[in-house]
């Protein structure tokens, strides 16, 4: 069965002044998969993510999401696209002047066709989905802990029932317990909502627990795109350091059986 890719990046290059970040990158994200982007600090993971969202423009090359070119002329199509994806920013990026409830309700209200009662019910359901109790809905973002900010931000990203979700460092800044439960949450939601997920992460446990496929960015190029197994077998020095360090081994050991079975 051939399926149209959700995201298609073709021959993308990025430059900041004379500094080359990406050189001729091509990548496809298939429907329903969880694709992780990894790479060292400053390798341009977040930049690539921002380009997939149309927040930044590559020097050359093309990014198509749901078959629409993000940097083409059809601005109407790109605008419609924005209701089909959600983004979880690293620091949450909640609107600090709005309550938790209003933060999640904002994208729904922007549709201007839903009545307030339905919005109210939907928001509380989304909050319940990410494990935020209704009594927290009236709080301001500054009164929330880091873990709760991420959960609320995830609820906001999911408010419009997107088909595609971008996660930037979903578990950074969370304690191991919370990051574990956050990973579980993402996994559950992925299965339940039939999401396609593109994720940038440094955290090996998150990477191992969630990714269907991994794309490794290093030295301005995509070194390899493949399942975790395929990536680990690669002998590129960055990959060796990244996965075969002590932390990497520990994370891989934990799921060895799973990796071998599948």
């Amino acid at each position: 069965m051939t399926t149209a890719p959700i995201i298609e990046i073709r021959n993308l290059s990025t430059r900041f002044g004379d500094f080359v970040v990406h050189r001729d990158i091509s990548l496809m994200v298939r429907p329903g998969e969880i694709m992780s982007l990894v790479g060292g600090s400053g390798s341009g993971k977040t930049t690539l993510l921002r380009q997939m969202l149309g927040l930044e423009r590559p020097a050359s090359g093309e990014v198509r999401v749901f078959g629409v070119s993000l940097h083409g002329d059809d601005t109407d199509a790109v605008r419609r696209l924005r209701n089909r994806w959600g983004m979880l920013f690293q620091e949450g990026a909640l609107f600090s002047a709005l309550t938790v409830f209003d933060n999640v309700a904002l994208p729904l209200r922007e549709l201007r066709t839903l009545d307030e009662q339905l919005i109210h019910d939907l928001v509380l359901m989304k909050l319940d989905m990410v494990g935020i109790e209704a009594r927290h809905a009236v709080k301001m973002p500054s009164d929330l802990s880091g873990g709760m900010v991420k959960r609320v931000a995830l609820a906001r990203a999911l408010a419009l029932e997107p088909e595609l979700v971008f996660l930037d460092e979903p578990t950074a800044g969370l304690d191991p317990d919370r990051s574990e439960s956050f990973v579980r949450l993402i996994k559950e939601l992925h299965e339940e909502l039939n999401l396609t997920v593109v994720m940038v992460t440094h955290d090996l446990d998150t990477l191992v627990a969630l990714s269907h496929r991994v794309a490794v960015l290093c030295e301005q190029r995509l070194v390899i795109v493949g399942t975790l197994e395929e990536v680990v077998k690669n002998t590129h020095p960055f990959i060796c350091n990244f996965f075969m360090g002590e932390r990497g081994r520990r994370a891989l050991d934990a799921v060895k059986d799973v990796v071998l079975v599948t």
């Binding site: 149209a4 066709t113 509380l124 209704a134 301001m140």
Partner: protein
């Protein structure tokens, strides 16, 4: 096939039938997802509601291709917050409905009208002003204490910050103060000339311009411009430092905010504002001179040579003294509001506005106090 393409085109459909057992039957099909529903909500919701009034009615959802939480929530709501008795559902869609089974807390009742509210607001306002006053005094006291410590240990004086602040608040403000000063000088001189001509008292233009600009307009104009320009910048800077936890980082390192942030800004403004006042005075007088010459035919040489006799030098010292006091006040108010900003964007905006409004008001009030205190000085 690409699911995305089909779901994009699909629409929610419903059809009313009568089942084999004679009971009414509502068949739902197509895509019951938010993107497809939002446009047709106004048309679909009443139909669903009407059908839901019949208790024996059957709901057949087996024709639905995709349904998301929004679609499920819409049905859930028409069923009155529970699952209707007779629902036929695809097994894979069961899960969507499970989520909805959360007890939704009642919405908070709208607040009653409270007739005492204006009084309460007034009281709050009074206490807020008092609170600001106390906080300002506390900051000022701390700055004085720190300044005394620094006098004893001059090596700790943050010279670099002071000079950077003098450059930013003084040197970089020369352009705008010159422009405004020049225009005010021209306008003032032109209007006064019109009146003086009527009385043939042309020569008094020098006294009028000299006293008003050097004693009042120069210091106040410069202070208002600097309050708008540097005061807002200081408040915003400290506010952002609060948001990004830089203030906390400094406190942790044992660097007091007063020494490193407030004191240099106050000292810098106390030095730069009198100099800006002097500059504004000079440019405004030049503007006045030019207008006086075109309107009254008073030559530049005459103007400049009579100025020292017409305006006692005490006025200049008074104007510069005001500059020092205004500078200290603007920096103090700006820092005070900056430190009170809470870590959210709205507070940053309100804090900056309040800072500028307050410092301009304070400048004008203090100017009035100066006028009363020094009413016998410099006016013959």
């Amino acid at each position: 096939m690409a699911e995305t393409a089909s779901s994009k085109a699909a629409q929610p459909e419903l059809q009313r039938r009568t089942g084999s057992d004679g009971k009414p039957r509502l068949e739902l099909s197509g895509a019951w997802i938010l993107r497809a529903l939002e446009r047709r909500l106004g048309e679909l919701a009443p139909k669903l509601a009407e059908f839901a009034t019949d208790r024996d009615a059957q709901w057949d959802l087996s024709g639905v291709d995709v349904i998301d939480h929004a679609g499920a929530m819409l049905l859930w709501r028409t069923w009155g917050g529970r699952r209707a008795a007779n629902v036929v559902l695809k097994p894979e869609h069961e899960r969507v409905f499970e989520r909805l089974n959360v007890a939704s807390p009642p919405r908070p009742a709208p607040a009653r009208i409270d007739w005492l509210r204006p009084l309460e607001a007034l009281g709050r306002g009074v206490f807020l002003v008092l609170d600001h006053g106390v906080a300002l005094l506390t900051v000022l006291g701390q700055v004085v204490l720190d300044a005394m410590t620094l006098v004893r240990r001059p090596s700790r004086i943050p010279w670099r910050e002071i000079s950077a602040n003098i450059y930013r608040t003084g040197a970089q403000a020369l352009g705008i103060t010159a422009l405004v000063g020049f225009l005010i000088g021209v306008v003032l001189s032109y209007l006064s000339s019109q009146q003086l001509k009527l009385f043939g008292a042309d020569a008094f233009i020098v006294t009028i311009l000299g006293i008003s600009i050097i004693r009042e307009l120069g210091p106040v104009l410069a202070a208002i411009l600097i309050a708008g320009r540097s005061g807002s910048a200081i408040t915003a800077q400290l506010g952002v430092m609060r948001v990004t936890q830089e203030l906390d980082a400094m406190a942790v390192m044992g660097i007091p905010h007063t020494v490193r942030l407030i004191l240099p800004k106050m000292l810098a403004l106390a030095i730069s504002l009198p100099l800006v006042v002097l500059w504004t005075d000079a440019v405004a007088l030049v503007g006045g001179m030019i207008a006086a010459r075109t309107e009254l035919g008073i030559g530049y040489t005459y103007f400049v040579s009579t100025l020292p006799d017409a305006v006692p030098v005490a006025n200049l010292w008074l104007g510069l003294g005001k500059g020092v006091v205004f500078g200290l006040l603007i920096a103090l108010v700006a820092c005070h509001f900056g430190l009170r900003i809470e870590p959210n964007t709205e507070s940053l905006g309100i804090g900056t506005t309040n800072s500028v409004v307050t410092s301009i008001t304070v400048v004008i009030i203090v100017d009035a106090i100066f006028a009363v205190l020094f009413k016998d000085v410099g006016i013959s």
